[in-house]
């Protein structure tokens, strides 16, 4: 009895301490950044009010739709193709670098290092560096998304291989199958559904990131939003946002349906 009271008391103090710490960081942060919490909270309804007045597409903004639609489809295609190319590259790298199918310890460490290096270079940096050499073209957006996706997919694929394929692989190895037979007959068929699920997730993510890349490098849907936004054609910008919402939700629904079947 005594100990349980003591335990609860200790636990209570522990929790209060953590909450106080987080709250303290928050308030010191808002002081340093001079963020007025009340004002910030009040500007949320104001922002929505403004949105409903200005961003509402009018009858005349329908004429922008074909152009928005064309750019949006272009963006989705870019997102898909960069993900697929990234997936092919990362699959090779992941096979070389995973603990199960990998070559040796040094290669594994190097592959892990490269993957996390690629993953952690911000998308902004990739976009700006590529923009400098490849100018304002779709290829720039493609490369920026590709390099970012490679970092994520290498790690994801390595984890999938290590989680799912090690037993099947052991079984096939025991029969005397060669390395490539094991890879193509056991590892790849086993992990394909999970790999596909990750590819679909990455496509969704890339469509969203393409907006940022587009604003920075002047391509796709991000560029067109930026143009409308900066020239104060807010109804057209609102139309663009609606189109983005529509496409992202449709993509999410499709990939959820596919996932339900394959997994």
């Amino acid at each position: 009895m005594q100990s349980s009271v003591k335990f609860l008391k200790h636990k209570g103090w522990h929790q209060t301490g953590i909450i106080a710490l987080i709250g303290g960081i928050y308030f010191i942060g808002s002081m340093i950044l001079s963020f007025d919490n009340a004002k910030g909270l009040l500007s949320v309804p104001k922002a929505f009010n403004w949105l409903f007045v200005n961003f509402r597409p009018t009858a005349s903004s329908v004429e922008y739709l074909p152009r928005i639609w064309q750019k949006l489809i272009q963006t989705v295609l870019l997102a898909i193709s960069s993900t697929v190319v990234a997936a092919i590259v990362s699959m090779f790298v992941a096979l070389i670098g995973s603990k199960v199918t990998g070559v040796n310890g040094y290669v594994q460490v190097i592959v892990r290092g490269i993957a996390s290096f690629f993953r952690n270079i911000p998308l902004v940096a990739w976009s700006m560096i590529l923009l400098f050499s490849f100018k304002q073209s779709d290829f720039t957006g493609f490369l920026a998304l590709l390099l970012m996706s490679i970092g994520y997919l290498i790690r994801a694929f390595m984890e999938i291989i290590e989680d799912e394929a090690s037993e099947t692989m052991m079984a096939l190895k025991a029969t005397g199958a060669s390395y490539f037979q094991v890879i193509f007959q056991a590892v790849l068929p086993q992990i394909l559904p999970s790999v596909l699920s990750w590819i679909l997730y990455m496509v969704e993510n890339n469509v969203r990131d393409a907006t940022l890349v587009g604003i920075l490098t002047g391509t796709g849907i991000g560029f067109i939003f930026d143009v409308y936004y900066k020239s104060f054609r807010f109804d057209a910008a609102g139309m663009t946002v609606l189109a983005i919402i529509f496409v992202v939700i449709v993509l999410e629904t499709i990939s959820n349906q596919i996932r339900r079947i394959i997994l």
Binding site: I25, F35, G40, S43, V84, M128, S133, F225, V248
Partner: protein
């Protein structure tokens, strides 16, 4: 007599089908093949129709190699100086922590209200649809929208980042809450416990580990987003310095220095996240 003996020593028949069927055709297999072929066709089409704006790919790659060499092998703090860059980095870190806190607090309350096993279906469905729409709008667009109303600066950045965080964490938390065993909630309901008592005495302790790990995942995402918002919406922080160095003054030595700083912080965040997750999982 002989008849039955013959029966016994009869040779086994050769199995009729010489091939063993390796793959079962199932819906899931067909679906995987269809989706993969569709993806590869789309990729092939896109890559052959890609607009390169007449850039010579070879020279562009050479230029890129030169830029990367300047960035990663000869980084220096450039004209801004180390102190200013560290300050900007601090601003970005604070932005990401604060927006994660806001996202976690609001996200938890919305998640409780949106979970199928706690509240009525209509309220839950409404919240989930609103959150799906909020999530579908990229963070950068939220920040741009708020920057019109509140003016460029940290307030717009905080609100923009928070919106996406709240929507993301609502989804993540409510999935964890829906994973809770029904009997836990039922048994507390039977004792007559009130709604928020159930939430804080049964649900909170059960899912604390997954709450913590989702929150830290979001912190990492928010740090990346804080950089993006700083660059594309002019909201300050290290992202803005990165944008200026790489897109305006073309000082790639400084760009490299900033990228190294950012990588250092993301490694630290990952390390802390792993440690804290281990601590909560081991309890």
């Amino acid at each position: 007599m002989t008849d039955s003996e013959e029966n016994i020593i009869q040779k086994p028949k050769i199995p009729r089908s010489p091939e063993i069927k390796l793959h079962e055709t199932s819906l899931s297999r067909v679906m995987v093949i269809i989706v993969f072929s569709a993806l590869i066709l789309i990729t092939g089409y896109t890559l052959t129709h890609l607009d390169t704006a007449g850039v010579q790919i070879n020279t562009a790659f050479k230029e890129l190699a030169m830029t990367l060499n300047q960035m990663f092998l000869q980084p220096n703090a450039g004209s801004d100086g180390v102190v200013l860059l560290i300050q900007a980095l601090g601003v970005s870190i604070l932005l990401s922590i604060m927006t994660t806190v806001i996202g976690a607090v609001f996200g938890f309350f919305f998640a409780v209200l949106a979970s199928k096993n706690l509240t009525n279906a209509y309220l839950g469905a409404t919240i989930r649809i609103i959150m799906a729409i909020v999530r579908a709008i990229p963070t950068i667009i939220w920040a741009l929208i708020f920057s019109i109303v509140c003016g460029l600066g940290t307030t717009a950045a905080i609100l923009g980042l928070s919106f996406h965080s709240v929507a993301y964490l609502t989804k993540a938390y409510s999935e964890s809450i829906e994973g809770i065993d029904k009997s836990t909630i039922e048994s507390l309901k039977v004792t007559g416990a009130k709604f928020w008592v159930i939430v804080f005495q049964a649900i909170w302790p059960t899912i604390i580990a997954s709450l913590v790990s989702w929150t830290f995942i979001r912190l990492e995402i928010n740090f990346a987003n804080a950089i993006a918002v700083g660059a594309a919406a002019g909201a300050g922080g290290i992202g803005y310095q990165l944008f200026v160095a790489s897109g305006m003054s073309f000082d790639f030595h400084e760009t490299g220095f900033i990228v190294y700083l950012i990588i250092l912080v993301t490694f630290m965040l990952e390390f802390i996240a792993v440690k804290i997750r281990q601590y909560y999982l081991s309890r």
